[in-house]
């Protein structure tokens, strides 16, 4: 079985895995990071979205071996030093979730969106999360949550990082 090494939420994790093991199953079942959810088997729903090297990716659509050498941020790694990420705060403030199952993926897609488009229009927000399904909210409060975070701005490190892609990836994975 191939050996992989992935930096997950700032920690280097090494393992021997079956080549066919999906990244999402590696995260959930081997690292017990169960905040990343599985909602479909066709890469549509986005519940499994994580950040790989700072960009959002559906972790059900990538093998763990393909992520070897990358930096992965899951929902568990988004808050820094005990402080919620502005998007987490926005989702809480604006009632951007109900059952919560799509929420981790939705938040990480929104991180990606705000990194590319710090001041998005409502249309840009709706397009930016079109790869993530929510069955509970009708999306309106999610849009409000992302607007809330956009108003507040991403954490300083991430903001600064936006100018240099390399630093952006580092900031998104917790900067470690």
């Amino acid at each position: 079985m191939p050996q992989i090494s992935i930096t997950v939420n700032g920690k280097v994790r090494k393992a021997r895995v079956e080549p066919r093991l999906l990244l999402v199953h590696f995260l959930r079942e081997q690292l017990l990071l169960t905040g990343t959810h599985v909602g479909c088997d066709t890469s549509q729903c986005g519940a499994c979205t994580v950040l790989i090297d700072g960009r959002s990716a559906k972790s059900c659509t990538i093998f763990a071996v393909q992520a070897s050498g990358s930096k992965v941020t899951t929902i568990e790694g988004l808050a820094t030093d005990g402080a919620l990420h502005p998007l987490q705060e926005g989702f809480w403030e604006e009632h951007g979730l109900q059952c919560g199952y799509c929420t981790p993926g939705m938040i990480l897609s929104a991180v990606n969106l705000l990194k590319d488009t710090p001041r998005p229009t409502e249309r840009q927000i709706r397009e930016g999360i079109a790869g993530n399904f929510c069955r509970c909210t009708g999306y309106q409060h999610i849009v409000n949550a992302i607007q809330h975070a956009a108003k507040k701005g991403l954490p300083k490190r991430a903001k600064r990082a936006r100018r240099t892609p390399k630093a952006a990836a580092s900031a998104a994975t917790g900067g470690r």
Partner: protein, 787 residues
């Protein structure tokens, strides 16, 4: 004494949800997040044909595979697991959790693998070889009723699960039918509308698929079962019954549940099989549904055909309604399958005083996934049929659709109002909701905008729909499980409050709303209140969360239990203060004589005294913990008005929703923010049905829309910003005056959008379009064909 901080009243406020911190940080525990040492994984082998006799099942290759513990066929499972029970009094064919001899829909399980992990289990399931003798697939609903092309269950000729049950005017308790009044209404009518309408099949698709972990511990002779369910107490009863255990031996837990929308009310074959296999092997087992399985293995919703006839006077006064309902219930009766269309029948009077109604219901087996509750469960269908007919009538009479409805409303002074269908509406002010919606939408301006757009050649239309639904289910006479809800409120020794509720939430936010209520009731900070739910080992009794009942019934039980413990606590406080208990007020964390807050005792001190009561006040037992069962005297009947504006692209037929206005009356609201979220979600599903969602079966019984690639879940880009308004008409049937709101959004939105599409295409002579509004269908109308 230091100044006492004043606590704000929380009921009616937009309190942030207490569930959210764990959910936004990935710290919640859904069923797939549960791991038990030694746990095995189950994967089901499912039929890939719609109808056939099982000739052989070869499991030898699967059993020989690495990591595989066991493989059970349906026949083997049947040796230790009885067929599944249903929850309705209708006759039902035997339904094995895993099929024996005959498969009856694509997705019907035929065998189950027990293995070390899900990968090994799935490999083994793929290695099982099943041979079938195919039988003709019964797909077309009306053909199925003639017994063609096959009879699915031998004891149900012509595939009729329920045959032509009548209801309405002139039907007595013995089902004798007198048509005189209905026939007279139609004979006297100036106008009669007649239309066949299909309320098509939907796939609920909670984003968390189903899942179960079952752990039978032989040494303890007890079973713990975690399932993604809306009703752990019903799960417990059923799991106990089918495993030959007492209910005291089964603990059922609904952990974090990722949405349900009715589809997680059922106790499914997989729940039974997991529990039975765990009991047989003495090992914990887990089964997690994949999405492609969920499409066929979790119950579907809707799929009711209606033949609607509406009789009216020239001035718009409705005289009578005839409605022949035919439901395609799929291959089997599930828990509530047979009862769902009866809710359609119950609600066909809508918000109108219709003096003569004849409705009949026929339920038909087909080789499809069984149907059952899906958000709204029978009421959106009723609303759709009646509202579409009202629109057609308005159009025929050349009347404004709002004006026609106003002319026929049940008036506020007429409540409680008994409809011809036997529903007794609790309270209502329909004109108020209509007027509020027209004002919020600026109806006259919208009409001018539509007319201007049409003058430019654009295809823009407006739609309006009223709805009334039956919620807060319900008196025990209306539910086979009992219709009450249970709560226990405990004031802990430190003055903190733990309360249980049998209304097990899956996104509804009860941990917040119920805590708001208790914080106000006891005058303590909300941080001092915890709401416990979803675990029959903690919550003594319960029914569950469905039918928009958790606030109206569960909230009422909580309020009652809180009241009981408050009464007792007041007696302890009275003893401490040497005051009369009736003179005490609970506020700002103290219990004090009214008008003398400084002389009061802290809430925590009184709690401590109640647990070490020296001396024990006469007539009291120590402790502060009381429970209540709330039995509502009636259902609740929330209502509202939804308005939409829609544009159809003339070149492509693609519809775009431009505006959606919803005014909903759910009675008193505990947390308006949460209520808005519930309405938004309901609207999304109602709009989804009208515009993008449809379960389509091929002639061979294959589900053609069996993944998210073919079945469209609405995306954020599909919706405009919803505009909400509210009117408040409390219900008298519970002490909170709350009616329930979980399903409301699915009722008015769907017909008002179809109405808008018909309005947009009125120039093409179309008076009705069956959902969903597929661009191709609309394009054909524009090209001169009919829908």
């Amino acid at each position: 004494m230091a100044a006492i901080p004043v606590l704000p009243k929380l009921v009616g406020e937009r309190v942030k949800r207490r569930e959210d911190p764990r959910l936004i940080q990935g710290r919640a525990t859904y069923v797939d997040d549960i791991t038990i040492a030694g746990m095995k994984h189950l994967v089901f082998k499912r039929s890939d044909i719609a109808h056939g006799r099982i000739r052989s099942i070869d499991t030898t290759a699967a059993e020989a595979m690495d990591g595989v513990d066991a493989v059970f066929t349906g026949a083997e499972i049947a040796e230790f697991l009885p067929p599944m029970p249903i929850g309705t009094p209708f006759p039902s064919p035997p339904h094995h959790s895993v099929a024996v001899d005959v498969v009856r829909y694509v997705g019907d399980p035929v065998a189950v693998v027990v293995a070390r992990d899900r990968y090994a289990a799935k490999d083994a399931a793929d290695a099982i070889v099943v041979e079938y003798d195919a039988l003709p697939a019964v797909v077309d609903l009306e053909r199925a009723m003639t017994g063609q092309p096959a009879v699915i269950h031998a004891d149900f000729p012509n595939n009729l699960a329920v045959a032509l049950v009548p209801g309405g005017t002139g039907v007595d308790g013995a089902m004798n039918v007198d048509d005189t009044a209905v026939d007279k209404a139609f004979a006297e009518a100036d106008v009669v509308i007649s239309q066949r309408m299909m309320n098509h099949r939907l796939v609920p698709n909670a984003i968390e698929p189903r899942g179960v972990v079952a752990h039978y511990e032989p040494g303890k002779e007890s079973m713990t079962i975690w399932s993604s369910t809306q009703n752990p107490h019903i799960l417990r009863s059923m799991i106990a019954a089918l495993n030959g255990l007492g209910q005291h031996q089964v603990r059922a837990i609904a952990p974090e549940v990722g949405g349900g929308f009715g589809s997680k009310i059922n106790i499914y074959g997989e729940d039974y099989v997991a529990s039975a296999i765990s009991k047989r092997l003495g090992e914990p087992v887990k089964w997690i549904e994949e999405r492609s399985e969920a499409f066929v293995a979790t119950t579907h919703g809707r799929d009711i055909l209606g033949y609607v006839e509406l009789a009216a006077k020239q001035d718009g006064t409705v005289l009578g309604l005839r409605l022949r309902l035919i439901a395609d219930i799929g291959a089997y009766n599930m828990l509530l399958t047979a009862a769902i269309p009866t809710l359609t029948m119950l609600m066909v009077s809508g918000t109108y005083r219709i003096p003569a109604i004849r409705a009949t219901i026929t339920e038909v087996f087909t080789n499809k996934t069984p149907t059952d509750a899906y958000r709204g469960a029978g009421r959106p269908e009723a609303t759709y049929f009646v509202e579409r007919a009202m629109d057609m009538l308005a159009s025929k009479l050349n009347m404004d659709p709002a004006e026609l409805r106003r002319r026929n409303f049940i008036q506020p002074a007429e409540f409680p109002f008994a409809t011809q269908m036997g529903a007794v509406y609790d309270s209502g002010d329909y004109d108020k909701a209509l007027t509020a919606a027209l004002k919020l939408a600026d109806w006259d301006r919208l009409k001018a905008e539509r007319d201007a757009a049409k003058a430019e050649g654009r295809l823009v239309g407006l739609g309006l729909a009223m709805y009334v639904e039956v919620c807060g289910l319900g008196p025990s006479s209306s539910l086979p499980t009992g219709g009450w809800e249970h709560s226990q409120v405990t004031i802990e020794r430190d003055g903190r409050i733990s309360a249980t509720t049998g209304a097990s939430p899956h996104g509804q936010g009860n941990e917040t709303t119920f805590a708001q209520m208790l914080a106000d009731q006891f005058g303590v900070p909300i941080e001092h209140v915890t709401i416990l739910h979803g675990d029959t080992g903690v919550v003594k009794q319960g029914i569950g969360t469905f039918g928009s009942r958790s606030q109206a019934v569960g909230g009422a039980a909580l309020h009652m239990a809180g009241g009981k413990v408050k009464t007792k606590m007041a007696r302890f406080a009275a003893a401490m203060l040497e005051a009369h208990e009736d003179d005490l007020v609970f506020e700002n964390g103290t219990i004090a004589v009214k008008g003398a807050p400084a002389s009061g005792k802290s809430f925590a001190d009184v709690a401590a005294f109640a647990y070490v009561p020296v001396p024990l006040p006469a007539g009291l037992e120590p402790g502060l913990s009381e429970e209540a069962f709330f039995e509502p005297s009636n259902n609740t009947y929330p209502f509202g008005c939804h308005i939409s504006m829609l544009e159809i692209d003339r070149e492509t037929g693609e519809p775009t929703l431009l505006k959606l206005v919803a005014v909903d009356d759910a009675g008193n609201l505990i947390n308006p923010m949460i209520v808005e979220g519930q309405i938004h979600g309901g609207l999304a599903q109602g709009i989804g049905q009208a515009m993008v969602e449809e379960a389509v079966y091929g002639d061979d019984g294959q589900l053609l829309t069996g993944s998210f690639m073919d079945y469209a879940i609405p995306r954020a880009t599909d919706f405009p910003r919803f505009e909400l308004g509210a009117t408040v008409t409390p219900t008298p049937v519970n002490p909170l005056g709350a009616k329930g709101v979980g399903e409301a959004g699915t009722l008015g939105s769907t017909p008002c959008i179809v109405a808008a599409a018909v309005d947009a295409l009125s120039g093409f002579g179309v008076t009705h379009i069956d959902m969903m509004l597929r661009p191709e269908k609309l394009w054909r109308i524009i090209q001169g064909g009919q829908s």
